[in-house]
């Protein structure tokens, strides 16, 4: 099952290495990981998307993360109301004739063109992973020359409604 876990960590040397090393050693499968600074100086936030077998493994994952000396807080936010976003850059083949057509394809995704050359254009998209996925699928027939994704970053919404599991369901 796919889970989104966030960890607040102290920004000490080697902290990312420490955590990914622990996950590797314990055979947890990371689908994506994103790290960056937080609202507090010296504190970073990490977001992991992980695929774990069962609840016992999930519990072990959060416990092992919590055990790390630099980790301040671990949350599994999968079943909560949250905002989750990732950024993707897609360089796609485009002759000058196809350019307008591609722009038509990406417009509903509110993606933007950030670079154009003679035979390609680069599109930037931010959003939920399934939205990013959907746009990439539509662009694939044009021929994708290069693609890079940041992985998901996420946190809880300001307010938690009563029952949220359904809102997120499988799509994150």
């Amino acid at each position: 099952m796919k889970r989104i876990i966030t960890a607040t960590v102290q920004d000490r040397a080697g902290v990312l290495n420490r955590i990914t090393g622990m996950l590797y050693k314990r055979q947890f499968n990371i689908e994506s990981i994103s790290v960056g600074s937080s609202e507090t100086e010296g504190v970073s936030k990490m977001t992991f998307v992980v695929d774990v077998g069962d609840h016992q493994k999930l519990e072990q994952l959060t416990k092992q993360l919590n055990k790390q000396i630099d980790v301040l807080k671990v949350s599994d936010i999968t079943d909560k109301a949250m905002v989750a976003r990732e950024l993707a850059l897609v360089k796609v083949n485009s002759s000058s004739q196809a350019r307008t057509e591609i722009q038509g394809v990406i417009a509903p995704f509110r993606a933007s063109v950030i670079d154009v050359s003679k035979d390609s254009m680069t599109i930037q998209i931010t959003g939920k992973p399934d939205k990013v996925e959907a746009m990439i699928t539509l662009l694939r027939p044009y021929g994708i020359k290069e693609l890079t994704r940041t992985g998901v970053t996420a946190f809880l919404r300001g307010q938690q409604p009563g029952n949220v599991t359904e809102i997120n369901s499988l799509s994150i």
Binding site: Q10, A13, G21, K25, Q60, I69, L72
Partner: protein, 572 residues
């Protein structure tokens, strides 16, 4: 910076290396196990100049240093402190660090590093010790600024010795040791992410008490966590109050008296039949400070299949890791036991269970073969037990001799047993005995080792001689890697692939060449007088005890089998 001003006042700290020495004094270090080299030359110079008020023990290999520090830590309860140089010095420590993390042994390890200016250039004797040791340390540091050094050292001692103990490594680049300070630095620290829970949740204690009050077949499994918490006395009170039978892990030996009536013996692969059957048949298993190692549980589906499981551990990640746990108690063993003692539980009558276990103890004791004159290794361990009156500190490597020592030496007190359990390290026992003896100079220290493992670290005989340590090495010499040989016999149709040591040194001459007394013994009749003699002798001795090669460790849970399927169980 707060320092005990025991060092010469005129010798104010001049550079980073001086700060290192002063920080160690501040941390109360009395013994430093180490080996010099290029990157730690400034530190060794500072040890010399400051006439540091603690011992430095020069091992003959860094692995000797770290296993000695482990032996010291296991038997004194204080952290073992190690110093090695960069590169090969540091990598020679790896086995000991991995050993210490597996067995939760508190160590503070210092490694030298090449200077900051050349880190990352593959400089002479450079290795990425941070990368190498991250998975096998509780925490590790590379010192970035001189001003951090006192704080980092203080933090390291704190992390190593609190919560679940473990090894902490500090990598000190040479330029930091050389940097002139002239200042005193703050050593205060704050670790918001590291706050071990020591007090048990009262609701969980109530749950556990309730489970006990409903249990007809309770059992208490004791691990080394009780020793680390200094909770042996509380354990005794608890199990006496409610008349609970006790089993132990390999590392838990001694936290409860091995000769006590309520003790059923060690459980697990080579534990007693009674202890394993008690785990199999119990309806409540209270694990205190053990981690459900696979050598303890056997095949998981047969481990305590009908029992409610309660687990007291200071490390929350251990609870539920292997065995689903109904009653988790995250706490220091002492705190949890005190809470249970104070709970006034009304135990149901479980006399039938106790009687059954007592009967089983009589019916299925540990046993071994005797031959006419040749020495049975188990018998030899029993003789060591007798001759030492059960008071020795015993260390071992891994293998047959280790299991025989665990089976036939009865420990009545904690901190008297140092063995490599989790990692199973050959070569651990002898240097660990050196460390144990340095930590407890008045005690008799016996290192029971095999002929193969002893050859991995025997260069430390030099240290035993140099310091005239009363370490008695008993080699149970069967000219083989005994446990490997046993497994090949049992599970590989007697194909003894590379397990027979047809060429061994003359251990007596070898010991003598180091200035250590060496004795060979081949007949049982010679043993009692010999042991009496060497235990009275003021200095190190190596005994080459020629034992029966074909002897196997029994009883046994074969690999992949359940704890109720022990083989080699015999009735007298």
């Amino acid at each position: 910076m707060e320092m005990k001003r025991e060092l010469n006042e005129a010798n104010q700290p001049k550079n980073g290396a001086d700060l290192f020495v002063w920080s160690l004094v501040d941390a109360g270090v009395d013994t430093l196990f180490g080996y010099p080299g290029g990157a730690v030359l400034p530190i060794y110079d500072a040890l010399y100049r400051n006439q540091a008020p603690f011992k430095h023990i020069l091992s003959r290999h860094e692995q000797g240093s770290i296993h000695a520090a482990e032996g010291y830590a296991r038997t004194t309860g204080k952290p073992g402190v190690v110093l090695a140089t960069s590169g090969p010095g540091a990598t020679n420590l790896i086995t000991g660090i991995a050993d210490a993390i597996m067995d939760s042994i508190p160590l503070v390890i210092f490694t030298g590093q090449v200077a900051h200016q050349v880190i990352g250039t593959d400089a002479f004797q450079e290795s990425d010790i941070m990368g190498i040791t991250t998975p096998i340390t509780k925490y590790n540091y590379q010192v970035e600024k001189l001003s951090d050094l006192p704080r980092v050292i203080k933090e390291a001692f704190y992390i190593a010795t609190t919560g679940r103990p473990g090894p902490v490594l500090i990598d000190i680049p040479k330029n930091i040791s050389e940097e002139i300070s002239g200042k005193e630095f703050d050593s205060d620290f704050y670790l918001p992410g590291y706050q071990p829970t020591t007090k048990p949740n009262p609701l969980q204690i109530v749950k556990l008490a309730d489970a006990l009050s409903k249990s007809k077949r309770p059992i208490v499994l004791t691990g080394a966590g009780i020793q680390f918490a200094g909770a042996s006395e509380e354990l005794r009170q608890f199990v006496r109050k409610y008349n609970l039978p006790v089993t132990s892990t390999l590392h838990g030996l001694g936290v409860f008296p091995g000769t006590d009536e309520q003790f059923l013996g060690m459980a697990g692969m080579h534990g007693t039949y009674t202890a394993n059957m008690a785990h199999y048949e119990c309806d409540l298993l209270i694990n205190i400070g053990a981690r459900f190692d696979d050598r303890l549980t056997g095949k998981l589906e047969h481990f305590a299949p009908n029992a409610r499981i309660a687990h007291i551990d200071i490390d929350p990640a251990e609870i539920g890791k292997v065995i689903p746990t109904e009653i988790p108690v995250v706490a220091d063993a002492k705190e949890a036991l005190n809470a249970l003692i104070g709970s006034n539980i009304s135990m149901p009558d479980h006399g039938e269970w106790i009687d059954k276990l007592q009967k089983s103890k009589e019916e299925y004791p540990l046993w071994y073969n005797r031959s006419d004159e040749a020495i049975s290794p188990q018998w030899m361990v029993e003789q060591v037990y007798k001759a030492s009156k059960g008071n020795a500190i015993v260390t071992t490597d891994v293998g047959q001799h280790q299991m025989w020592a665990a089976q036939f030496y009865k420990f009545d007190e904690p901190n008297r047993w140092a063995t490599s359990g989790g990692l199973g390290t050959m070569g651990f026992g002898f240097p660990a005995a050196i460390g144990a003896q340095l930590g407890a100079p008045e005690e008799l220290v016996v290192s029971i080792v095999g002929d193969a493992g002893f050859q991995m670290t025997l260069q430390e005989l030099a240290v035993a001689h140099e310091r005239n340590l009363r370490v008695k090495v008993i080699i149970l010499n069967n000219s083989a890697l005994g446990m490997v040989r046993q497994w090949q016999e049992s599970f590989y149709d007697e194909r003894y692939s590379e397990s027979l040591l047809t060429v061994n040194p003359d251990f007596v001459k070898l010991a003598e060449s180091y200035g250590v007394r060496g004795v060979r013994v081949e007949k049982e009749s010679e043993v009692p007088a010999l042991l009496e003699d060497i235990f009275a002798y003021d200095g190190p001795v190596v005994v080459d005890a020629r034992v029966v090669q074909k002897e196997c460790v029994y009883p046994m849970i074969a690999p992949g089998k359940g704890i109720h399927e022990m083989i080699g169980v015999k009735q007298p």
